[in-house]
Symmetry: D2
């Protein structure tokens, strides 16, 4: 496994898709040096997008976190493609289109309600759902903001009796924290599904729809750009790299997040998910 | 599907194995009429055992709950075979035998610590495990008695870095409550395992060891009894009935717990787990 | 569950996506009456597409089978979106782009080699791969055309030692035959994957990419058509209906294929995959 | 990971349980030196048992293969515990006891029919089952002796329509061959089960019943022997070592079969299945 410098690798590409967590930021916030890097890439006429399994807050709020102290916003909200957006599109087409002002019960922080409301539905924390009537959708958006024991069991009982769609706004199974790892909402969904005996509607990488959605947004702005001029940068083989390969893109695995340098070679060998390049991080 | 009367079915058997929850008791406690039934069966010279996926309290405490108001204890603790006992045997042979007075971190109510302590280990609630050193075993015993978000994530990080065995004292995935269902500790284990990337040591039905263990206990008391004189009574196809069939026993499915009368026929057809008899409940 | 007439349901839509097997045809060939129906729909200015998990032959050959005896071809090859096309796109972008004239070993009938060759690779039946060198891709396209025992085991050993991508051209698990059902290539892939310990690149419904690809083709021909004017018709809940809902489309479940009339209601209840409409078949 | 000499490790034990394939023999037959080793262990008053996931031939035939050229049989058939024996016990108790002279359709070599016949049932190769009536059991015993494409699909259709039990006589997923690996009958069962939508009755390691059965046989011959005087020797972590630990036994992992020396440490770390000892092979 040959390690490459990120600045050298990017030279051949016009558009760069970044995963967020483990690439641009970590549990301590945006990595030092990242705003300057994004500024340099923008000045070099590269278009930058963020492709993230995150339904915990609106793209506008994510965009703010990548601002440059002097130059301001470097990646506009319209270039931040979150799994929450796909979930919101689903809710709009499959729920709100049939029942405007319908009501969805959700699990997640209050800021994740954005994705329910932007679909045209009323967002009610699942803990507060006490109706005999079922909600029009059950939406799992984030692992924080609720009492797991009480609310996961409550969700189970609503899901078992209801035919309303169950939407998972983030397919991730775990995420790195400063102490190690924490279970993401995709793991909660995996626990519920065999017991709930319902098929869930899951959104997020490695599903290639994330990349197709981003490629469509990119082509509106830069018509005619070929897939081989687009590079996906991620820290996780089975989401970022797998999904981007499915969509036909070249990929960079960085070793600054989920994949540790000591285990990268072995994980590539044992999964067969081979990135085009491996870089220590994006600042190299 | 022909429904049979339980009293008629039992006539041909000398030994009866009962599942506990959904058969002898429910979320409201021991079913009215059960102590009298157990007394009659005992007077008819039948040996009674309880085979339960329960590691939440000691067999002695379970035995008390089945007492007759006049006649006292009807099923002695030695005839209550819980999945916790198998977990305790494992901990004794595989942990305490190598390291007497070792320390195990556990998830569950304080009363479930019995199964760790009876193996000769010190039982420490996982929330209180703050050592840099790893525990000698991690033991998941019950779904209550701890903060799910904090302690399941804490367990994940201990399990990922440790080579100590992870023991699941109850393989059940869910259990009925007065409001519907709740996730049992087996579901928590299923969520953790693919992320923890360790193989767990799971105990409980449908594993046939539960039945082999009970048959051994039964034969010490009643040597020479053949398997075909033993009847297992349970409310769940994929634990009670599957496991008992694996062990070569005849079975009764009762419709007083997990399996609803309206769905019994369909579930039997769709799983292929066919009980010898179906009865509405044990009081019929 | 209210049964609707297909002709009445289609009135509100401009574009109709059809699954092939179980909808337009069965093991006896194209259903009697289907060519006339397709002709009427075309005359009513509806655009027709076929969305099929089939990598056994080229779209041109599929198009021929839907021809009208008098009017000729009713659905042009360019409107037949097969899972094989997505596999071919992947092979072109991820294999042939890096290594023109690379060689892929495939499992399937000779006619399925089309999808390897159209990607710019040489297609070699896996049974004939005897090189010490590994193929540039291993491609599973169909369940027929090879000796299962010999060639599946041969595939296993090539996959275990190689880092070349393993591509599954059809995600289906089974298909109806005149005698019952047969295992499709997706089932062979599911058997191999845990043993091969590689992640496979799978294409086909329910992956929403099939639908996104079809919607892009449709919009080139009919710009500005909204998703709510598109109707997907399929016989299988967990591929056709699930995938189309993920892509935001309305759906019809027909009872002429995988889903039997007697079980439709139950399967909808137990999976939570709810179609917009249910019709006996497309000829009603 | 410290490598130990097998002869030194065995000193502390009275009874030795051996896995067969990868320990005593490989694809070339019984390993050179093994008969002499077994003779020495017998002379040292150790009791020897074979615990094998193998339902391809009768224990008597297996016993012959371990004979010493001069001294004759070293491990009597009664000390060879195969997964086929447990399957036969199940068939006897759950099928033949209700319907003497019942008929079972089986997949496997003709020699594997032994396990059906010894249960008191007529064994009919599945390929020859053409009755409208269903067999009394469907039994998967071996991966050889039949046409995979024709007979696996035939089995699928019988299983889907029947309520007769489906019995898997060998839980192994793969086995080493001289060219690499081959899929074992457990993999065929895993492919069929989700499509057949029936629960199968599976026998073999890692299920602890294999070990409990062997311990019962051992205690009839050598009453009072404690578990800590029994040593299990195997080449596979997730069958031999996991199952024996579940049963409370000490274990040796040997590196002469499924587990390669270069990967042993990593596999132990990544599964958490830790053997008591690791030896290069049993001849060291």
């Amino acid at each position: 496994m040959e390690l490459r410098s990120f600045s050298e690798v990017t030279a051949a590409y016009d558009v760069i898709f970044f995963d967020s967590y483990g690439v641009l930021k970590n549990s301590g916030g945006v990595l030092k040096g990242v705003p300057d890097l994004l500024l340099r890439l923008t000045q070099a006429k590269k278009d930058l997008y963020v492709i993230t399994n995150d339904a915990s807050k609106a793209p506008e709020r994510m965009a703010q976190s990548f601002s440059h102290p002097v130059e301001g916003e470097l990646i506009p909200a319209s270039q931040i493609i979150s799994s929450g957006l796909l979930a919101a599109d689903f809710l709009a087409a499959q729920v709100a289109a049939k029942k405007p002002n319908g009501r969805a019960a959700y699990l997640g922080k209050p800021s994740s309600a954005y994705y329910v409301e932007s679909a045209g539905l009323e967002a009610i924390p699942l803990a507060e759902w006490n109706d005999s009537e079922d909600p029009d959708a059950i939406v799992l958006l984030d692992d924080e903001g609720f009492d797991w024991f009480r609310d996961i069991n409550h969700a189970l009982n609503i899901i078992r009796r209801s035919l309303s769609p169950v939407v998972i706004g983030n397919a991730d199974l775990l995420y790195p924290t400063k102490d190690g790892f924490a279970l993401a909402v995709g793991s909660l969904a995996n626990m519920l599904q065999p017991i709930a005996q319902k098929t869930f509607y899951r959104f997020g990488k490695p599903d290639a729809m994330m990349f197709v959605y981003a490629l469509q947004a990119m082509r509106s702005a830069r018509p005619g750009t070929k897939n081989h001029k687009v590079l996906m940068v991620g820290d996780t083989l089975h989401t970022d790299i797998l999904g981007a390969r499915m969509a036909g893109l070249d990929t960079v695995l960085v070793l600054s997040g989920n994949t540790l340098a000591a285990q990268a070679e072995l994980q590539i060998q044992s999964t067969g998910i081979v990135p085009t390049y491996v870089c220590p991080d994006i600042l190299s």
